[in-house]
Amino acid sequence: MKIEEIVEETPDIKTLRLVFLEEGMVNDFSFQAGQFCQLSVFGEGEATFCIASSPTRKGYIECSLKKVGKVTQALHDREVGDVLGFRGPYGNWFPLEGMKGKNLIFVGGGIGLAPLRSLIWNCLDARGDFSEIMILYGARSIADLVYKAELREWEARSDLKLVRTVDPGGEDGTWDGHIGFVPAILEKVSPSPENAILITCGPPIMIKFVLQAADKLGFSPDQVITTLEMKMKCGLGKCGRCNIGNIYVCKDGPVFTYRQILSLPAEF
């Protein structure tokens, strides 16, 4: 796939918009919110990324990547027009049908907003299908917030409620959002579990505490959906790297309900 556009989200996160080189693929390629893909820079290797754009927006996909290792470093060094290796889409997806008519609460942390963004736009593009929508999003600091333009757009919309927060110490004089860790703010905002589904993604430690907070707020384990991250190589349920118990995150995940997670060995 070819890089069509690069957005610098934060000092170490970029969003790449990718388009297919093959004519046919432009129309034929389809995916669901929550699925992931393998991007590669030849010579440096391959790495796993969730698709951060909505399936409703055709003709391109977007992936947001944080510079953390060899492959992400190489991807950050690419320029508009460069060609990347692509495999996908892989994995399961958010149960969109089951969310219809429900109140949706999105809880994201850091770059964990990426898979949620795919779903959020998917829902917003069919806004009538869902009841109230709330997005709680936080990052370490103001600079680390991703999709800043979209956050402003969401903020301005009257059909959803955006709650922003930064970790203590990550604020500055101009910050008008919350200050505090995402799970704490979730408890503070205290959304009602009634007819609601909570979808969360973020660093493992945040997910852990969000799940606890959701539990405290009265969400049943079936009402909470998250995505898990494990190191992956093949994405095809072969290489044995992403196993958590008998599940393959690449095939059976990355999307899980909290109830499913409760039945897994605590090794993620």
Partner: protein
Amino acid sequence: MGKEMKEKALSRAGQDQLIQGLRERGFRVFGPRESGGLVLFQETQSASDLPSRYSNSARSIKEFFLPAQESLLSYGVGREEIQTRYSAEEPLPTVLFGVRPCDAAYLPIIDKVFAWEERDQLYLSRREKTLIICLACEEPDEACFCTSLGYSPAGREGCDLLLTPIAQDRFFAEFVSEKGEGLLREFPHLWEEASPSDQKRRKEVEAEAKGKIKRRVEMEGIKGWLDEHFEDPLWEEISRRCIGCGACYYLCPTCHCFDIVDEGNLWRGVRRRIWDSCSFGHFTQMPAHQPRESQDRRYRQRIMHKFRYYVDRFGPIACVGCGRCIEVCPVGIDLTEILARIQERATTPAKG
């Protein structure tokens, strides 16, 4: 078993003619050969290349289906485009001659993971093009425990043809699969009728070999205990001496985890698949997250994957009892001891 398995006898000279005949028909024939103090599968010209006495090859036959390293694709990056070429070469017709039944038994187990949903064509096409001719095991090693897993030194799982030495100059031949039966038709002059005494002798040979296997682990209860004991002090206890090398993995037939690496520069190179092991820390190391940060967790994964997760997912236990892990462990970790300890816990009524 719908139909009767075909049984014949083969002379030692016939064994050699079989190898010759297969070679003439374009098969590459590999058999165990001794070199540098190790028995390894190598290209074989004749039956005389086979070592006279050995329990098993140092490396399992998995490298013929999942090589230690193989190219997945090669790439060339030009000014305008990137060219990739997948390594989809048809594998050459291959015969593995003299495979021990425990090694052959690994195949039907591991076929399952390579064939579910996305089919791994590299593995499966090699599988299809390879004929497995087993040689029943007369000299089980002190570390062997195939019988505990329900296999036998003269077992048929995964074989196409099973040869059991029944006399100095005579083998009992069982045509286990369709592919194996093909040999019966292809080389009609080689096979002699098997007599009832041949059959009797075959059974005796198997019983004798079984009798030489001193290790015995009862598998009952182990899965149930593992289901309940993801967290348990036992894991730390049994893995403390583990130094985290990959010897047990790399020699284990059923261990099949791999890594994918790019080698080359930004203009041209190769993407390869290589063996990898859950005993290494980097196996699950993500930039900011490590779900298995100590050796006990990694060791637990090894046991759990073989005896619990694989069973849940695919049915069979991912262990054939070949004993290589026991044989090669530089610090004396013994899988059968560990299984016995788990079994003991599983069958002892819980305290408190």
